[in-house]
């Protein structure tokens, strides 16, 4: 199938706090992905909205929805509508900006999150494609500019040196092989840092990885990031 929807529960679901699956539940999912990527609740976040998101975020509760995701709430959590004040009470600095002009990632429901947590800065470009399903199409972090295919799940593995594993195989290839064997690899890309000393492997996945496989990968890639 050419499209991105795979599960019957992408269509019948999610169970969520209203009012909009793309602008509320999808926004929770963008926030949740951002939380996973930066490793927890950011200390500051600026959220730039484009097109439909810019025009209707107030009416659709997009603000509290994205922040709910950053707090790690599920889309049907009763605290969702109060998320912005809950996060501000926890000391998170939050800004919302309505941007003019087209989305930088070519979708009318676009939110770009500029985040900081401890020493880490990250910008993620998310869009909500309908029915609560989201794509993360671009991630900027630590000098990298990662262009992903968009659909979740997504696995990122950062490698500090280009060492080969014991059997002489490149770590990135080895991970790709094990994901391919599980029938879950859509595509993989490797990005090198500016100084060439480190790299990030990005794996676009066709379906969620089973916990056993994730555990196996995390043994030789402890700093992996998996977003589902």
């Amino acid at each position: 199938m050419p499209g991105e929807y795979k599960s019957v529960f992408d269509i019948i679901g999610p169970v969520m706090v209203g009012p909009s699956s793309s602008h509320t539940a999808g926004a929770v999912a963008i926030g949740r992905a951002a939380r996973h990527l930066i490793g927890g609740l950011p200390q500051s976040v600026r959220i730039d909205y484009y097109e439909s998101f810019a025009q209707t975020h107030l009416g659709h509760g997009t603000d509290y929805a994205i922040v709910s995701g950053l707090l790690g709430y599920a889309p049907d959590d009763g605290r969702v509508p109060q998320a912005v004040s809950i996060a501000r009470d926890q000391g998170v600095h939050i800004e919302f900006c309505e941007k003019e002009g087209p989305s930088p990632i070519g979708h009318p429901n676009t939110a770009v999150l500029h985040m900081q947590r401890q020493q880490r800065k990250m910008t993620i470009y998310g869009c909500s494609i309908g029915g609560g399903i989201v794509e993360i199409r671009r991630i900027q972090m630590a000098g990298y500019d990662l262009q992903t295919e968009g659909m979740l799940p997504l696995l990122l593995v950062e490698e500090m040196d280009q060492s080969l594993s014991n059997d002489g195989q490149d770590k990135g290839d080895r991970i790709a092989d094990s994901i391919r064997a599980a029938g879950a690899l859509r595509q993989s890309n490797t990005y090198r840092s500016g100084d060439g000393n480190s790299s990030i492997h990005v794996y676009d996945l066709d379906k969620p990885l089973l916990p056993e496989l994730l555990q196996q990968i995390s043994r030789y890639a402890p700093n992996m990031i998996y977003i589902n």
Binding site: M1, I12, T56, G59, V80, G131
Partner: protein, 291 residues
């Protein structure tokens, strides 16, 4: 995995199984889950739908914080008990459940998106009618949702289901077509008849724009779901009677996609054109959000 309605219908016919069963088996295989797990998840979604219908239909109903919508599902309930309605009580049961769900959604209550929150009332509306008319039991209701989901997957992958990309035809239009197909299976129709009902229902709502007043999922969304449910039942009946849409379901999905792409941004969930752009619609926007 089926890439088209035609393929879905062929698979069901070859295996001599209902479409709900094709969907259940595919879900089990893809996610390595047991039938019990998949069934249970759908059962929980049905619970969420039932709760929303009940909440919106109890007492005076629910009201959104803006005051734009609310309480009308309760009005329908009272009207049903006191009057001989023009469209019949089965139809009004559908209308009541559809509006109750979307009123709960507008009041930031919990609903199940089917396929979206804006169109979350359509399938519960169809289900209410099937419960009343053909005593569809709980297992049948869960199967209904799998069938609807199978048709929704093809629609989402070959066209779109977001108002921001395709207008309301992609939301309530898709939900209504999904509901029509699933209603046919619930009533004992075969897979080609399901596809026919789908095609008829989607054709009927082609071109419907997404023009929410003040950008809120309230006006006209709540009542559009009433139409979505009613249209699904009508399309299912036409198909079960032997009527044909002539244009096949997959081509209708293509047409929906093409119409969606042609809609200007002002009519795709920006709260600018259509009813949102009327003098009264703009007035509501100013009252709710200021200048």
């Amino acid at each position: 995995m089926f890439a088209s309605i035609q393929e879905l219908v062929s698979i069901a016919q070859e295996q001599d199984l209902p479409i709900s069963e094709i969907m259940i088996r595919q879900e089990m295989e893809r996610y390595n889950e047991s039938r019990k797990q998949v069934w249970h998840r759908m059962s929980q979604n049905l619970d969420a739908m039932d709760k929303a219908v009940l909440k919106g239909s109890t007492g005076k109903g629910v009201f959104s914080s803006t005051g734009l919508t609310g309480g009308e599902a309760a009005l329908i309930r009272d009207y049903r008990s006191r009057h001989v309605s023009l469209s019949g009580d089965t139809m009004l049961a559908a209308v009541q459940a559809a509006m109750a769900t979307n009123e709960v959604n507008a009041s930031m209550g919990v609903i199940c998106a089917t396929p979206t929150a804006g169109s979350s009332g359509t399938l519960p509306g169809v289900l209410a009618a099937l419960k009343k008319r053909i005593d569809l039991d709980r297992d049948g209701q869960i199967r209904f949702l799998f069938t609807a989901g199978a048709f929704g997957l093809v629609t989402a992958n070959n066209a779109m289901i977001a108002g921001a990309t395709g207008g309301c035809q992609a939301e309530v239009g898709s939900a209504s077509a999904m509901g029509a197909a699933a209603a046919v299976e619930a009533a004992g129709g075969d897979p080609p008849t399901c596809a026919e009902a789908f095609a008829i229902a989607m054709s009927n709502l082609l071109g419907l724009v997404c023009d929410p007043v003040a950008g809120l999922v309230e006006l006209p969304c709540v009542k559009r779901n009433a139409i979505g449910a009613a249209n699904a039942l009508i399309a299912a009946d036409i198909a079960l009677a032997g009527g044909s849409n002539k244009i096949p379901a997959d081509e209708v999905i293509e047409a929906m996609h093409e119409v969606g792409m042609a809609l200007p941004s002002s009519l795709r969930e920006t709260g600018i054109g259509g009813l949102a752009g009327t003098k009264t619609g703009q007035g509501f926007r100013k009252t709710i959000f200021g200048q």
